[in-house]
Symmetry: C2
Subunit: 195 residues, 2 copies
DNA sequence: AACCGGGGTGTACGTATGTACAGGTGCGGT
DNA sequence: ACCGCACCTGTACATACGTACACCCCGGTT
């Protein structure tokens, strides 16, 4: 059952499992996604990563260390995903539509990513050591959105994206794509002054 | 030491303390503000409210009930504060400046209100029963901001406010008022197309 | 071939938590 | 005057948690 690394001779390679630490951190992410930050325990993580309990306390001296590394991984993944999304965009496409698709994706199929990102984000409010990681996520949003528009609009869109995504993940039922599109269009193009 | 209610004869009025339940809920808010949702325990709340431990379990059968009522109170308070802020505004004043002041206040002196609001907001992501309360907060923002502009701009500003406030509470050091003002101005007035 | 060193693990312990519940206390009915 | 009852509280218990640490095991060294 235990998915341990095996060397070519079939003997358990107890030593040198450099992926172990990252496996545990990623398991922590899924635990947070399912149970929230309160549910993050050494035992839950050990079960999710399929490693013994002692392994989690060996690789991470304290739970906060584990939380910090999990946040770092989650933020890195999300920053990478946003950059990949941006580089895959048509160079002249309608940006409001693209951002709407992005939000809808994070509310729908990728909802768990959204939940864990905000969980860890808010956890940083009580743990100053985690704030730089959260700030990096913000800065990446500003940079990516600003590259497609201009620096100031990038800051507007980063804040709007952050708030709108959280509100959309909360709303039941979630807002329609059309409603979100209207908001982004208004934010990018400005008020429609047509009389 | 215990601040119990006393009747006019000086005997402890054990019966009928209708404020008790609310006192406990408000104590829960301050506990969440200081220690986060993970730190919300019957004992911590009892100590903060200066009531015996049994009192918290008597008035709230489960911790989630307590969390729900605390979120409701916090949201009500914040909604009331926003409405009061709006009704105290000059009718023709610059709205971007007013919103900037609002954000700066919630990042500075009222930072604890902000922290607890987001803590409880995010807690609702894992507790569907709490989502209507969070949604009410969102709707109030849309309504208040929309009344000073227009419905669509109200939705933009509500999302932007939510995201920007969270980012500002996270940032260290917090962004300058000027930076926030620029963002709100850009969001309200649209892009400056002057060549 | 013997040994040694360090990474990895299972267990045990002290502590904090949620919750149940028996008992106490004063008010309202008779 | 008496009593039942509903409200309230302090305590006790089972459980789950973080953490420490004694042991194990294998690869490299001599």
């Amino acid at each position: 059952m235990r998915e341990a690394p095996w060397d070519t001779a079939g003997r358990p390679a107890v030593r040198a499992d450099p992926s172990r630490r990252e496996r545990i951190a990623r398991a922590a992410i899924s635990v947070v996604a399912e149970r929230g930050v309160d549910g993050l325990t050494h035992r839950a993580v050990a079960a999710a990563a399929d490693v013994p309990l002692g392994s989690t306390t060996y690789h991470f001296q304290t739970l906060d260390d584990l939380l910090e590394e999990a946040l770092r991984h989650a933020a890195d993944d999300n920053i990478g995903a946003i950059r990949a999304w941006e580089s895959g965009l048509a160079p002249d496409g309608a940006f409001a539509e693209a951002m709407t698709d992005l939000v809808m994706g994070y509310v729908g199929e990728n909802r768990s990513h959204t939940v864990v990102e905000y969980d860890l984000y808010i956890a940083a409010l009580h743990r100053p050591a985690l704030r730089p990681v959260s700030a990096a996520w913000d800065n990446a949003l500003v940079e990516v959105f600003g590259r497609r528009t201009d620096p100031l609009t990038g800051r507007v869109l980063a804040g709007l994206f952050c708030g709108l995504l959280m509100q959309s993940a909360m709303a039941d039922p979630p807002p329609s794509a059309e409603a979100i599109r209207e908001v982004f269009r208004r934010a990018i193009e400005g008020p429609h002054t047509a009389a």
